[in-house]
Amino acid sequence: MDTARRRAIHDAMVRLSDGDRSAFDALLDGLWPVILSFAERGVGRGADAEDIAQEVFFRICSRITDFDPSRDGLSWAFGIASYEIMTHRKRAQRRREVHEESSLENEPDGSASQEALLMERETRLAFEQLVGTLTEEDREALGLLPPGAASGPVSAALRKRKQRALERLRHLWRSLHGDP
C-alpha cells in the first residue's frame, strides 16, 4: 500500500475520533477494501471473509473515539482485524472438533467421516495431477506407471533415479500446496 493512501486512512480516523462526522465516507472508501482483502487472506475468499470484514469495520467505527492519533491508524485497524480473524478461526476449529466428536459417536464401527473421505479424495486428486506433470522416466522410477510398463532389474542407478524423482515430486508438492 502506498503512503498517501495509508495517510488518508489515518487522517480520516483522526478526524472521526475528533468528532468530525464528515470524514466517514473517506474512512469507508479507504479502509473497507483493505480490511476485506486482509480478511480474505486470513480466512479465504467467500462470505466468511466479508462477514469478518464487516464485523471488523463496525468494531473500528465503534472504538474510534478511543483511537490515539499518535499511533498509525492502519496498524491499529489491523490489530482489531487480526483479533477478529483469530477469534473466527478458533470458533471454526471448535465447531470442527465438536462435529468430529459427534461423527465419531455416530460411527461406532470406526469408518472414516464424510469430511475425512472428502479430504482423502481431494488429496488423491491433487497427487494424480502432480504425477501427471512428472516425466515418464520419473514416473517409471517411482513405480507409478501402469503394471507391465516398467521393466529391467533394480540397480543402484535406478535407486538413485528414484531418489531424485521423489525429491522433484516433494518439491512440486511443496510449491503447490505448502508443507504437508
Partner: protein
C-alpha cells in the same frame, strides 16, 4: 454481498454508539458526586435536578467532539473546588444555610469560585476553545459547584456561580494580552 449504503449506515450507527458509550464514562464521576450532594445537603430533589442537567450537558459535550470532551472535563475539574468547599462549610458551620445574601458564606463560595473560574478561562484561552465551548465548560463548572453549595442556600450558589463566571471571563480575556 453487503452494499456500500448498508456498510455506511451500520458503521455510522456503531460510531455513534461508541461515542455515546465513551461519553457515558463521565457517569462514574458524576453519579457519586450527585449522591454525595443528596446525602450531605438533604436536598435530594434539588440535587437530582442539578445532577440531571449536569449529566445531560456533560454527556452531550463528550459525545459531540473532542473539544467538547476537553470542555466537559475542564468544567468538572473547575467546579470540584467550590463543591468540596461548599460541602465542608456546611458541615463545619450549618448556620450558613440561613445566612443572608451578603454574608461570609457567600463570600467563601465566591472566593473559591473565582480562582477556579480563572484557571478554566486560562485553559480555554490557551486551547482556543471559542466562546461556545468556554460557555459550556463554565456552565458545567457552575452546575458542579452548585451541587456542593446548594446546602448553603441560594446565596452561596449565586456566589460560587458569579465567582466562576467572573474568573472564567477574566482568564479567557487575559491570555491574548499576556
Amino acid at each position: 454481498m453487503v452494499t456500500r449504503e448498508q456498510l455506511k449506515q451500520g458503521g455510522q450507527r456503531a460510531y455513534e454508539r461508541g461515542r455515546l458509550r465513551s461519553a457515558a464514562r463521565a457517569l462514574w464521576v458524576l453519579v457519586p458526586v450527585v449522591l454525595v450532594c443528596a446525602l450531605e445537603t438533604r436536598a435530594g430533589e434539588t440535587c437530582a435536578c442539578l445532577g440531571f442537567l449536569l449529566v445531560g450537558a456533560t454527556v452531550y459535550l463528550r459525545w459531540r467532539d473532542r473539544r467538547g470532551i476537553h470542555a466537559a472535563t475542564a468544567g468538572i475539574e473547575a467546579g470540584l473546588l467550590p463543591l468540596v468547599v461548599g460541602l465542608l462549610v456546611r458541615r463545619l458551620n450549618p448556620s450558613c444555610a440561613e445566612a443572608p445574601l451578603w454574608s461570609l458564606c457567600t463570600g467563601i463560595c465566591l472566593g473559591f469560585g473565582l480562582p477556579s473560574g480563572l484557571l478554566l478561562g486560562l485553559r480555554a484561552g490557551r486551547g482556543n476553545w471559542g466562546a461556545a465551548s468556554t460557555g459550556m465548560a463554565l456552565s458545567i463548572a457552575v452546575l458542579v459547584a452548585s451541587l456542593g453549595c446548594v446546602g448553603l442556600g441560594l446565596s452561596a450558589v449565586a456566589g460560587a456561580s458569579v465567582g466562576l463566571v467572573l474568573g472564567g471571563l477574566v482568564g479567557h480575556r487575559r491570555l491574548p494580552a499576556a
